[in-house]
Amino acid sequence: MELTVSPAPHIHGNLTVSQCMYNVIIALLPAFAVSLYFFGIGALIVTLSSILSCVIIEYLIQKYLLKEKPSIGNGSAILTGFLLGLNLPSNLPIWIVIIGAVAAIGITKMAFGGLGNNLFNPALAGRVFLLISFPTYMTQWPVPGASRWSYTDAETGATLLSKLKEEGYQWIDQVDITNLWIGNQGGSLGEVGAIALLLGFAFLLYRRIISWHIPVSIFATVFLFSLALGLGAEGGNLQDAHIWQGAFDFALIQLLSGGLLLGAIYMATDYVTSPMTSKGMVIYGIGIGILTVVIRQWGGYPEGVSFAILIMNAFTPLINNYIKPKRFGRA
């Protein structure tokens, strides 16, 4: 009898790369359902075309350019496509979606060496590439629930945060926060439904696909920073309960809109581009939170999550280099 000999360990936890990817895809399904409900056929077309083009581009590059065995079965390209789609407005023409997929997979991922070697989050880099290249297309947001059966000709409006930037702080009194929880707001098609996104977060935590460190530190930073800004805008008389209420609403709006949940839970936690240690993850999360609020408050864009995550992606190697886990037996 031939016996196999190999070094220990002889058993494996059975977690695979594709399982990680498909679990994230499953976690995103509630948010996708919300976007189908509010944005209708456009959401379906944009998401499907994004997934398809990402998968096809990765396949073609691996097969004909790199001449290696295509690994699209591991779900990574599907997830990138799904995330890219969820980060786009639901009335975006397909040809622009395809350009975004080329930027995401071709440039950000494969040009850097494929899965595991990219410095930036592919889906986000794709989105930001489109935002800079096609600013008009990328800032026309279909009004939720208004025209479910129309695609590029859907009725459009502003997002909550751009409106807030225009109208000023006092405008928050007009916002019905319930709409933010259920997803009745303008924006990228996957970022609107807060409850659905949080449901996926719970699922990912339960399946131990991601840890709490990155999302929670982003949430906490954005919330506290915005709360402080809100209190400042209210005049800063901390004795007044009404001021606290207003600032609290302001901070909650910052948390529930502008793609913060989608970014914090599903994009910032991308394994490849986020730090390896839990301490590093917290630093990274705080960085994203601060940058997001700074861009929103003082920058040129009403939403800032994509830029914040991409900037912190660039810091990830540095964080990995300097932030070490607590070694056993050392103070």
Partner: protein
């Protein structure tokens, strides 16, 4: 809240198929082979020659130094060969072969089964007795027990910890021993306490052995100073440093001896062997071995004479299933896959694990996706992905700075890696290279 260690760790599927199997006595083998280097340290020196008659318990090889151990004959009969023989991994090692004839024991050995609680020997005499009896760490490390009981003078032991965690999946030999001989273990524990001059001992047992915890807790009432500690089931809790951290909440400093925390750790099987040696004058000639795995007809906990061929013990358990692909000495996390089934069972063999085709092969590695799982499970707080990468690229100096030598090779990283990367293989290579560099630096 159950106690456990503070950094990393995993909880693999326990697969304790034989947890409820009582200890089964195995017939005396027709022939035994005793490897002279079956413990850590210097090989023992053979003191018999071909044709010599021996009894059970006759000294056949003497310790070859302070860190070494005596070897006794586990059977009565004739020495038929003193020669090189292939060990379980196919490496030739000096071995004494004894043909069995009857079952005659040395007269000095007390073979009665009744419990002897009175410890008459002085601490020095106890350690001497343990040294003579050839006892080594029976959890698998096979470090000579008497060496651990005589720590360097600057360290004063304050507490004894008995390692009954049995954190490896599949293995149940310690569990079966605790259910079979709880009082002997407790007396053994008292003997060890006396030998190092401490009044307090903890017996750490993982919570997946509730019956053993309950039984020992009840018995321990009679033995002042011994406390049973139920631990949260988590691998690698049986690691010496992890166990000290779990029970005493103290971390052994990097590079320091475990006794620097005041604790001396001994395996529960070792405590039993100490009882037999000191109270019954019986040297280490047998042990319990768990035979378990895929498709084994009679998995169980078998008390066997040391030196019995591995193949024969597997036959007792129903023989090798036809789809066997891997045979492992020890548990699935740290055990070693063997190639030679005719090799003898050594002192450190806690189990024989049989895996079939489906479980014996590793998955195909794919690129690291930097998920950080290896970092979060490492019980030493290292960065396995980084150490593996540094080792792969021969950046050994950097690997030394990143504490590669602190790795205890528990395998949590490779177990958890979704990309099936051979992380620990690379770390072992790097660790060896770094240790060599450190040694050559000391010499120059």
């Amino acid at each position: 809240m159950l106690k456990t260690f503070r950094i990393g760790g995993i909880h693999p599927k326990e697969n304790k198929l034989t947890a409820q199997c009582p200890v089964t006595m195995v017939d005396i083998p027709r022939q035994v082979s005793l490897m002279l280097n079956q413990h850590i340290g210097a090989p023992a020196k053979c003191i018999v020659k071909k044709g010599d008659l021996v009894k059970v318990g006759t000294l056949v090889a003497e310790a070859g130094g302070f860190v070494s151990a005596n070897i006794h004959s586990p059977v009565s009969g004739t020495v038929s060969k003193v020669d090189q023989a292939a060990n379980a991994f196919g490496v030739c090692t000096p071995t004494i072969v004894i043909d069995t004839n009857g079952d005659e024991w040395e007269e000095s050995i007390d073979r009665s089964t009744e419990l002897n609680e009175t410890i008459e020997l002085s601490p020095e005499e106890i350690i001497q007795k343990i040294t003579q009896s050839g006892i080594v760490g029976l959890g698998g490390a096979t470090f000579p027990t008497h060496v651990k009981l005589m720590p360097p003078k600057e360290f004063k032991p304050t507490v004894l910890i008995i390692n009954a965690t049995e954190c490896e999946p599949y293995l149940t030999d310690d569990h079966a021993l605790m259910l079979e001989s709880p009082e002997q273990i407790l007396v053994g524990c008292r003997i060890l306490m006396k030998s190092i001059g401490v009044n307090h001992a903890y017996i750490g047992i993982e919570n997946n052995k509730k019956d053993a915890i309950a039984l020992l807790e009840q018995m321990a009432k009679k033995y002042p100073g011994i406390e049973i500690v139920a631990l949260r089931t988590r691998y690698p809790q049986g690691g010496e440093k992890q166990l000290i951290d779990a029970i005493l909440h103290k971390q052994v400093a990097n590079g320091a001896l475990p006794v620097s925390t005041g604790a001396i750790v001994q395996n529960v099987g070792t405590a039993f062997a100490v009882y037999e040696a000191v109270q019954k004058n019986k040297p280490l000639v047998d042990r319990i071995v768990t035979v378990t795995g895929d498709g084994i007809a009679r998995p169980g906990n078998y008390r066997v004479r040391l030196g019995m061929p591995i193949r024969e013990l597997i036959e007792v358990a129903g023989g090798l299933p036809s789809d066997t692909s891997k045979v492992i000495l020890g548990g699935p996390m740290m055990g070693k896959a063997i190639s030679n089934l005719d090799a003898p069972i050594p002192k450190g063999c806690s189990g024989i694990l049989i895996l079939n085709e489906g479980h014996a092969h590793r998955g195909t590695p794919s690129p690291c996706i930097r998920c950080g799982k290896c970092v979060s499970v490492c019980p030493m707080g290292l960065e396995p992905y980084l150490l593996a990468k540094l080792s792969e690229n021969h950046l050994f100096e950097k690997a030394e700075k990143e504490s590669i030598t602190a790795c205890l090779e528990c395998g949590c990283c490779a177990y958890s890696c979704p990309s099936n990367r051979p992380i620990l293989d690379y770390i072992r290579i790097g660790k060896n290279a770094v240790n060599q560099i450190i040694r050559s630096r000391k010499q120059s």
